[in-house]
């Protein structure tokens, strides 16, 4: 088989590329955030099934998000975004109320200002307890009428490991603990992982993390064991509104395209897919999303690229540097010998 796109670019069959012969179709998630009600059933169902430990009982002040981000102790994470703008044709009912300026941004800033002083820059939200203290923002003037806010929307989105076609975490793993399954998903084998931590930095989405007490890296397995038993992943099964849909990736991509068209027709032009494109920097995600704003608003990178894409370049330059070193080391003696 051609290994042309083993490291980057569109790859039709990642499981076959990883040596699985006669494998089932590629399975994945399509998370339609336009119907997410932010209940967090996905987070709990995931933890119940996978025995993921509790990871910090802290009020984060990020709307109703007290999980913070994906991590070793949170394999699903529901983001909550409050914004002063309308959602499609939704009427938030604020017009003509005696409102002042929006404070969504200010509240967000309260949190963002506290994050740099938190351990690991807030990158450990959802991994260990984080105390944000009692920061504050300047009090707004009590405005009314003209400068008052009239628009509002509340976005919710359940984030998860993307199970990339080209997975940074998998590529860098030195033990083979991370591997691609027959379902084309990316899974950490807990009996193998020795906690080198390389995958943590290899992931362009900031998904995988190491558990401090346990020492190993953990992330969503797309319920590998359940898939083996022809069961749906726990989060998708629990999701009350079917915001999390599970199935063969090809089917999901078709369904997602229809859904976007439907939303565009219904006056929600901001609906867009994220991670569905096999031509993107990671070869397309096994778990992709329908978003209602730019990805970075949900904490997602706008244009992630698997570091492996540049692997050849890196080795080439490393080779050059090595050659230079050898040359130099030889030269210093040659000169001396003269």
């Amino acid at each position: 088989m051609s290994r042309e796109n083993s490291f980057h670019g569109p790859l039709a069959d990642p499981a076959a590329d990883a040596g699985h012969l006669g494998h089932p179709p590629r399975m994945g998630f399509f998370t339609d955030t336009s119907v997410c009600i932010g209940c967090k059933a996905c987070e709990v169902a995931c933890k119940e099934w996978n025995n993921v430990p509790e990871d910090g009982i802290d009020l984060l002040g990020m709307s109703f998000d007290n999980t913070g981000m994906l991590g070793a102790g949170s394999w699903r994470h529901v983001a909550f975004v409050e914004q002063e703008r309308p959602l499609g044709r939704q009427d938030a009912g604020l017009a003509d109320l005696p409102t002042g300026p929006s404070r969504s941004e200010a509240a967000a800033e309260t949190v963002s200002r506290a994050l740099p002083v938190a351990g690991r820059g807030g990158g450990d939200l959802g991994t260990a307890p984080v105390h944000l203290g009692f920061p504050s923002f300047e009090l707004p003037g009590a405005g009314t009428g003209a400068q008052g806010r009239t628009e509002f929307r509340w976005l919710m989105s359940s984030d998860v490991c993307k199970h990339c076609t080209h997975a940074g975490c998998l590529d860098v793993c030195p033990t083979g603990a991370l591997f691609r399954t027959e379902f084309s998903t990316v899974v950490v084998q807990e009996d193998i992982c020795n906690g080198c931590g390389y995958c943590v930095s290899g992931c362009p989405y900031g998904v995988i993390d190491r558990r401090p007490d346990d020492g190993r890296a953990w992330k969503c397995t797309l319920c590998y064991d359940r898939l083996r038993g022809s069961m749906e992943p726990a989060c998708a099964q629990a999701c009350p509104t079917d915001s999390i849909q599970f199935g063969p990736l090809d089917e999901l991509r078709e369904r997602a395209a229809r859904r976007v068209a439907e939303l565009h027709g219904a006056g929600v032009p901001e609906a867009r897919l994220y991670g569905h494109d096999p031509g993107d920097g990671v070869g397309g995600d096994g778990a992709f999303f329908l978003l209602l704003d730019e990805p970075e608003v949900y904490g997602l990178p706008p244009d992630p690229v698997v570091p492996t894409r540049d692997l050849a370049t890196m080795w080439r330059y490393a080779g050059l540097a090595a050659a230079a070193l050898l040359t130099a080391a030889t030269a210093v003696f040659l000169e001396a010998g003269r």
């Binding site: 119907v35 009600i37 932010g38 209940c39 967090k40 059933a41 987070e43 709990v44 119940e48 509790e54 910090g56 009982i57 802290d58 009020l59 002040g61 709307s63 109703f64 007290n66 999980t67 409050e82 002063e84 959602l87 044709r89 939704q90 009427d91 938030a92 009912g93 604020l94 017009a95 003509d96 109320l97 005696p98 409102t99 002042g100 300026p101 929006s102 404070r103 969504s104 200010a106 509240a107 309260t110 949190v111 203290g133 009692f134 920061p135 504050s136 923002f137 009090l139 707004p140 003037g141 009590a142 009314t144 509002f152 929307r153 509340w154 976005l155 919710m156 009350p240 509104t241 079917d242």
Partner: protein, 874 residues
């Protein structure tokens, strides 16, 4: 409206999302923008406690613009019935209806009756003391002669016909008035009116969903009445996609109302006997009257079958089926009354069964002080809860009001079995019973309630065996011999007895129509009759949705008689044809001579649509072929309630007990019959026309979060849930934050005349201030799940709330009160007591505050205090 469905019932909300995906318009009307609002097409912010003004506005819009479903209204509602001449409306009496007695703060409802129906005058005091509508079960009050002779004007033009009475009553509820009272801009309000009416009629239906956002008010029952009136006017009752949905909050709270652990009810909404019922005949006469229509006409069969189940062979016709064994009620014996009686030393022992009043009941402080004054307390729960540990860690231990060494209450904690450790049925919110099989044995001392109470009964009877005391007879004669499985009574056998047994054959009856008034059947709950038909546990059925039709008739069992949509006869027109093919549900099949359709018809199967009962018939036989509301004493849906409600035949906007504004519609400020308890330990914040309301300038409302469950015993102790909502917080608008100097994530405390509680501040655009009659009114919201035990702990929000109740059902007004909010933590220890006392002093609060109920017509009515609370102004 009054429901945060996406958060409180997330899995049920999938059907709303499904409907939305098919093009349904979703409107959410709520004081704050919630996760439900986030998914709705339209959100309407309204001031908490003003829903009747809003709904009245909708009714007025429908009537003024003639938008009702005329044929439906004429055929199936009492719109055409004439109201008696003695009736006077709130329009005439400044917010009161005729029959009001300011001394007892109650109504004599006799003047509300239909023109031609004989009524006896009944002082309202008794009804008010007994949670009246429950007394009348699900079918409304008895009405003599309901079967015939009600004067009607089918043209709906007569000035005293219900339609015109309604029109006049709601004429004040204009869009302008809605805006001034509710704070909802007129355009927005009219949008909702248009959406509601445009989606109702032959081809379309609209559903109305409410939860405790509606019930926990002094006028809660009338909120629901107001919603029902709209749904009746628009033809949205008994039809697919229509209805008024009460979303209930607990696994079997519907079941615990059907098979009540409630003081005023017996199973199947039969009333608890009261002191006027010296005999079974007198009791039955209070339930149904000669000549009345509908299935309550058979109340004798239901009651006697229940008595046969209770006392078995000992219940005979000669001894009135042991009716005399029944304890009698003579007033309010509701849970709040009982808590006050505990404080007053009148109650000695208390059982708490999976319930945590120290956190979950309004005025938690009163609850805890009551519990601290008992002889003994039995707590049965899965985990250690605040109500079991109050003697050592209640907030009152911090203030010194409860000291363990001085608290005499003896506490027994019995660990309970969980839902997988016992078998039995839950009744869910749409009346469906679902059986659970036992999965595992409980460990240690963990036992089910079934075991506990069966054991308790056995041991009590053993102890009293041989007693000659007359008062022990009911216990000794009790039928208490249920089949047992390994020492545990068989839940299936109990369910069999609930279903009912034909004592001649020993087999289960097939349904309540088979119950007899001659003592030949025993039935524990007539509305559940049929759940064990053919000796099969119908609630245990699990036929997959993939294998059945759209109404999934073989999954569980729905009372009554496995009907999914109540009153579904109304889904067909008077001639028995579906109103439209699109909305067909049940129809008359003339060829086969029976009702048929997708659902089990809620009608006598072979009674043709044009049936006219012979003169003199009563009960079910008196129902016409187009009397769709088969439980009602006149067969009609009630727009106007000629009897049965303690607070008026029509919903009327009254301000909440605690409100920052004067009632703009009437001189009567708040419900004139609300149940108040004027006691020093139950103070109220002042409301207009009383002075000093400005001390508590903000509207307060509380609710639950998806991530927690009620008082937290089943969620704050679980790491996976505790981490999702880890701390008590209070939500305020940016405007209120500015006004009070509150900062996001900072600390603040909320104060009422009861206490102050501390929480983290969440400043959010989801909260918005309102224009109320020219001034800006702010609302404050808190979740209420916290207490001092568990993985996440916090102040008890229910401590902020005083006890004042709806006179119909005695449910407390906990969805709206007034408060103040200040930055920083609350005072600790005994300083807290002084701090709150200072607030009370500044607001001039005494036990008389808030209990001078009558304010209509400029009267200064009497204060309704308990006895002489203390020396003070009178």
């Amino acid at each position: 409206m009054g429901s945060n469905m996406a958060e409180a019932h997330p899995v049920g909300f999938q059907w709303v999302m499904e409907a939305k995906a098919r093009g349904a318009r979703v409107v959410h009307i709520d004081p704050r923008f919630t996760r439900t609002s986030a998914l709705a097409d339209q959100h309407v912010t309204l001031r908490a406690g003003t829903d009747i003004a809003f709904l009245g506005g909708v009714i007025n819009h429908i009537l003024t613009n003639d938008l009702s479903f005329r044929e439906y209204v004429q055929a199936y509602t009492n719109a055409s019935c004439l109201v008696g001449e003695r009736f006077e409306d709130t329009e005439d009496l400044d917010g009161l209806f005729s029959g009001y007695d300011p001394r007892t703060a109650s109504y004599d409802a006799s003047s509300w009756a239909y023109e031609s129906v004989p009524v006896e005058e009944r002082p309202g005091g008794r009804a008010k003391e007994q949670a009246a509508p429950y007394q009348h079960g699900s079918g409304g009050p008895p009405m003599e002669g309901g079967a015939q002779g009600i004067a009607r004007d089918l043209s709906l033009e007569h000035p005293r016909c219900v339609y015109q009475v309604l029109k006049r009553h709601f004429s004040r509820y204009t869009p302008e008035m809605v805006e001034r009272i509710c704070g909802v801009p007129q355009d927005l309000f009219l949008d909702v009116c248009r959406a509601w009416t445009a989606n109702s009629g032959r081809e379309r239906t609209a559903a109305l969903v409410y939860s405790v956002g509606w019930t926990q008010h002094t006028v809660g029952a009338q909120y629901i009445r107001a919603g029902s009136i709209i749904q009746l006017l628009l033809g949205n009752v008994g039809r697919p996609g229509g209805g008024v949905f009460a979303l209930r909050g607990h696994a079997s709270i519907q079941g615990s109302t059907d098979i009540p652990t409630l003081f005023n009810l017996l199973p199947g909404y039969l009333p608890m006997p009261d002191v006027t019922h010296e005999s079974l005949a007198a009791y039955l006469d209070g339930v149904r009257r000669p000549g009345q229509k509908g299935f309550w006409g058979n109340a004798d069969a239901y009651t006697i079958s229940l008595l046969k189940e209770y006392w078995g062979e000992n219940a005979t016709e000669e001894n009135d089926y042991c009716f005399d064994y029944m304890p009698r009620i003579d007033g309010d014996h509701g849970t709040y009354r009982t808590a006050m009686d505990m404080v007053d030393g009148k109650v000695f022992g208390y059982f708490l069964l999976g319930q945590n009043p120290a956190v979950g009941s309004a005025h938690g402080r009163l609850q805890r002080l009551g519990m601290a004054n008992l002889d003994w307390l039995v707590v049965r729960d899965l985990t250690m809860i605040e109500s079991a540990t109050f003697w050592k860690d209640a907030p009152e231990t911090e203030t010194g009001e409860i000291v363990a060494q001085q608290c005499r209450t003896e506490v027994f904690f019995f660990p309970a079995a969980s839902h997988v450790e016992k078998s039995g049925t839950f009744t869910q919110t749409q009346r469906m019973l679902q059986w659970r099989d036992q999965a595992v044995e409980p460990v240690g001392d963990q036992r089910s309630e079934l075991w506990f109470f069966h054991q308790l009964g056995l041991r009590l009877r053993r102890r009293l065996a041989g007693s000659t005391d007359e008062r022990d007879r009911p216990l000794l004669d009790l039928a208490w011999d249920y089949a047992s499985e390994d020492g545990e009574p068989s839940a299936a056998d109990v369910l069999r007895h609930i279903n009912g047994i034909d004592l001649r054959t020993g087999r289960t009856v097939g349904g309540y129509t088979e119950l007899k008034a001659d003592g030949s059947t025993a039935c524990g709950c007539w509305i559940y009759s049929g759940v064990y038909a053919d000796e099969v546990n119908q609630a245990r059925r699990r036929k997959s949705r993939f294998d059945t039709g759209p109404y999934d008739a073989e999954w569980g069992w729905t009372w009554p008689m496995n009907r999914r949509v109540l009153y579904n006869r109304a889904s067909a027109d008077p001639q028995g044809r579906p109103w439209s093919e699109r909305k067909a549900l049940v129809w008359w099949d003339a060829e086969r001579g029976e009702w048929t359709g997708h659902d089990t018809p809620d009608f006598e199967r072979t009674k043709p649509p044009d049936h006219v009962p012979p003169a003199g018939s009563s009960g079910p036989a008196a129902l016409r072929g187009d009397d769709a509301f088969i439980m009602m004493s006149d067969g009609k849906g009630w727009l106007f309630a000629p009897a049965g409600l303690a607070d008026g035949p029509l919903p009327t906007h009254y301000e909440p007990h605690e409100s920052p504004v004067r009632n703009l519609l009437y001189g009567q400020q708040a419900s004139p019959v609300r149940k108040v308890y004027g006691r020093p330990d139950n103070p109220s914040n002042p409301a207009p026309p009383e002075a000093h309301g400005e001390v508590f300038p903000y509207v307060f409302t509380a609710a639950r979060l998806t991530e927690h469950h009620t008082a937290g015993g089943m969620s704050r102790q679980l790491p996976y849930l505790a981490e999702l909502q880890p701390e008590l917080f209070v939500e305020v608008s940016p405007e209120l934050a500015a006004e009070r100097g509150l900062t996001h994530l900072g600390r603040a405390h909320v104060i009422t005349s009861r206490t102050a509680v501390e929480a983290r501040v969440v400043v959010t655009d989801r909260m918005a201030p309102l224009h109320i009659d020219g001034r800006v009114v702010h609302q404050v919201w808190m979740p209420y799940h916290w207490g001092q035990v568990g993985l996440t702990t916090g102040d008890v929000v229910n401590d902020l709330i005083g006890v004042v109740a709806d006179p119909n059902v005695f449910i407390q007004e906990s969805k709206v009160l007034t408060c103040d909010i200040r930055p920083g933590g609350r005072p600790r220890g005994s300083d807290l007591v002084d701090y709150v006392e200072d607030y009370r002093r500044r607001a001039g609060i005494t036990p008389w505050t808030g209990v001078r109920i009558v304010t209509a017509g400029g009267h200064d009515g009497p204060g309704h205090t308990e006895g002489d609370p203390w020396e003070g102004p009178s």
